[in-house]
């Protein structure tokens, strides 16, 4: 039977740790969560030889063992607990050749826990490019370790790393720095109090919120408090530790690493100067956004028209081919148009994700984060808030979960509360269909009005988030401290495979996730729209025939009148008319009201709902857009979707909190119903007021 050892992969963010994990484990990996928290846990198996297998854990990226967030704490919890089943036999610290000095801080801390630690220096292929040379024997000798020079991009050095892991028993577990060097008197007393414990481990337990082994933190605090009575004393000692470590690292690198700037062929610095420039940086970002929104419209119109027509034909074919009856009507008028209402937006959503993936993969997104930090701070957010706000363009749920790496609770809470203002992919179908109905197709300076409107809505979403953050920062009385560190990865050509996978996975999760809800809601709506109580519904044919007996209507016109009468007196019609007084001042009729109510489950349901309601009783082979364009305002006459009602609807969706899943995730992340309730009430009230004002001004 082969033996199995535990390997922990640890490193700073953006050092290619996950690429090393992939290179070691291949397809033998699985993703889960750490017990009790939703920090992602990736683990896999790497076969080292016939008799030795390695269980590899890819731990969350961290800059040091002084945890400031939930995911960083996971690393420390594991390293301090020898009883953990995943406690590593050997740690592989993955570092980036360009940021070796900073990466070595974490390495020396782990080494001081006296766990065998191997240093894997990644991105070795960039050494020539950057004019970097390393004296590996010198580094190995002074860091007391074994070093593997690897490049996951060029697939070099992985076998050497595996061989070092295989012979992990030869790796020294001698510390780099003795804890007593930080403060001799304090650590001597600590050693006397706990003679059987490792000194640096004790120090980490005192300074972190963790327990380990059988030693309770409170017990340590009680004994050690004779020296460090206040938190500021502890902080001072931590700072001293960091300085000591950097002194040690500087001495090692003085000989071990040479950087010849004259040999560097560095485009990065020149690009950074332009892309993060205080004026050009913003202009370029604005121009990129404009290009993206224009492309979303220009490139997706053909496939969208094709999908729309195909669904209309499919619905008609179903109606004509299957035996007549309720279930056939459900398929043709409920399910197919409802699903068509979401499938039609696949091209635009895929293009949006394509552009976001390219910006992320190329390294540009980190520059945007850096650029935005300057603005964010003025509004009570940190630069880290920009990551949830940008990922909120896909979906608010992962975006809210991404706030976990914001250290300050106040900043985190504000980010959670304002992220739903960001224009998520679910708003896109609503925006696109309304824009196509009420905004003309002309252009200004080569930019289409429709694309400009879409971009404006994104800016409104972002602006509302930032402005709300500013207000919340003034209102919320929560004390917290903040700092911001962002990794600036190198610019690189995006890998086609990564881009394709991202677009595929995100589009699929949007369509499948939304598709199931829309399918279910379409079925319920069709039933509510096809059945009704009382004489008015059941005798609709007689009532309408009598009513229009003298009007000489042809059969088609009469059928339309009957269908319309039935719909008005169906269950959904009755419910719609009940809520109509509340939404009439916003320029909506009862059908839009029903769509708004049903889209509380998820915003994208809006289009599917209207597609279902407008299809019930209709015999025409019509596209969703044409059906909506043909709707007449029952009171004022003229198109129901005109400029005033369209803008009112766009603004309603820009501000409204129409997503049950987001509310559930906010409840989970804040551990209280208070915050999602505030969010729901404030956002809905704001949406109503803005939609009301815009309709009354524009009508």
């Amino acid at each position: 039977m082969s033996k199995q050892i535990n390997i922990a992969l640890i490193g700073n963010p953006n050092t290619g740790k996950t690429s090393v994990f992939n290179a070691l484990t291949g397809l033998n990996q699985q993703v889960g969560n750490y017990p009790g928290i939703t920090v992602e846990k990736k683990e896999g198996i790497c076969k080292l030889d016939r008799n030795l297998k390695a269980h590899v854990i890819d731990l969350p990226g961290t800059y040091s063992l002084n945890a400031s967030s939930l995911d960083e704490n996971v690393v420390i919890e594991l390293l301090l607990n020898k009883n953990d089943k995943d406690f590593p036999d050997v740690v592989v610290v993955v570092s980036d050749v360009e940021n070796l000095k900073r990466n070595l801080l974490l390495f020396t801390q782990i080494k001081d826990l006296e766990i065998p630690t191997i240093l894997a220096i990644n991105m070795a292929d960039r050494m020539n490019y950057k004019g970097i040379s390393l004296d590996i024997p010198h580094l190995e000798k002074h860091l007391n370790t074994k070093i593997a020079l690897i490049s996951t991009r060029k697939k070099t050095g992985i076998n050497e790393l595996k061989s070092l892991i295989q012979n992990y028993k030869e790796v020294s577990s001698e510390p780099c720095l003795h804890a007593s060097e930080i403060d001799k008197e304090y650590f001597d007393r600590l050693r006397k109090a706990f003679p059987n414990q490792l000194l640096y481990k004790l120090w980490l337990v005192i300074t972190q919120d963790v327990n380990f082994g059988k030693t309770d933190r409170k017990e340590i605090d009680a004994i050690a408090s004779f020296k460090t009575k206040s938190e500021s004393d502890l902080k001072r000692l931590q700072q001293k530790e960091t300085i000591k470590r950097y002194q040690f690292i500087n001495n090692v690198l003085k000989v071990g690493q040479t950087v010849d700037a004259s040999q560097a062929k560095d485009l990065r610095s020149r690009l950074d100067r332009v892309l993060t420039h205080k004026i050009f940086g913003y202009l370029i970002f604005f121009f990129i956004l404009l290009t993206i929104f224009q492309a979303i419209y220009d490139w997706s119109s053909v496939p969208m028209d094709f999908i729309d027509t195909t669904f209309a034909q499919f619905s008609e074919w179903t109606k004509n081919t299957l035996p007549a009856g309720d279930f056939t009507s459900l398929l043709a008028e409920g399910i197919i148009p409802g699903l068509g209402g979401i499938v039609i937006f696949i091209p635009q959503i895929a293009f949006l994700f394509l552009f976001i993936a390219i910006l992320e993969e190329s390294g540009y997104m980190s520059r945007v984060v850096f650029l935005m930090d300057k603005i964010m701070r003025r509004f009570g957010l940190s630069g880290k808030s920009i990551v949830p706000l940008i990922s909120g363009t896909a979906c608010a749920i992962p975006a809210i979960m991404a706030t976990r790496n914001i250290e300050s609770w106040k900043e985190r809470l504000i980010t959670i509360l304002v992220t739903p203002f960001t224009t998520c992919a679910a708003r896109l179908p609503v925006y696109l269909i309304i824009i196509s109905l009420v905004i003309p197709e002309g252009s200004f300076l080569g930019l289409g009005y429709q694309a400009l409107t879409l971009m404006l809505l994104y800016l409104i979403g972002f602006g509302s988030a930032v402005f709300s953050a500013y207000l919340l920062n003034k209102v919320l009385k929560i004390e917290s401290k903040t700092f911001f560190v962002v990794e600036m990865p190198n610019y690189k050509l995006p890998l086609l495979k990564n881009i394709a996978l991202t677009v595929l996975e995100k589009t699929k999760s949007f369509v499948v996730g939304a598709g199931k809800i829309i399918l279910a809601i379409s079925i319920v709506l069709w039933v509510l729209a096809s059945y009704g109580p009382g004489e008015n519904f059941n005798n609709a044919e007689d009532i309408v025939t009598q009513q229009f007996a003298s009007s000489n209507l042809n059969e088609e016109e009469l059928n339309k009148k009957i269908a319309s009468h039935k719909l008005e007196h169906s269950f959904i019609g009755i419910a719609g008319h009940a809520i109509e007084p509340a939404i009439r001042p916003l320029g909506y009729d009862w059908k839009i009201g029903i769509a708004i109510v049903s889209s509380f489950a998820a915003r994208e349901v809006f289009v599917g709902t209207l597609a279902t309601i407008y299809s019930v009783g209709s015999d025409d082979e019509e596209t969703i857009k044409n059906r909506m364009a043909g709707e007449v305002n029952p009171i004022l006459g003229g198109p129901l979707f005109n400029f005033a009602s369209g803008i009112s609807l766009l603004l309603f969706y820009a501000f409204a909190m129409q997503c049950m899943s987001t509310l559930a995730i906010v409840k989970r992340e804040t551990n209280s119903w208070k915050w999602p309730t505030y969010q729901l009430v404030v956002m809905t009230a704001l949406a109503y007021i803005v939609a009301f004002a815009s309709y009354q001004l524009l009508k």
Binding site: Q30, N33, Y34, A324, L330, I523
Partner: protein, 46 residues
Amino acid sequence: METPFIQKVLVAVTLVLALGYLVSKYFLPKNKKNTNKDCGNGSCGC
């Protein structure tokens, strides 16, 4: 007469399934399939 009756039954079944899905998604608490502390294996439901 048989076809419309079957179609009505199919509509009723579809409606029940749709309502069941919506209720389970939005109103019922999620089932925790695994209460084992060693979860994190991808199928633990946490």
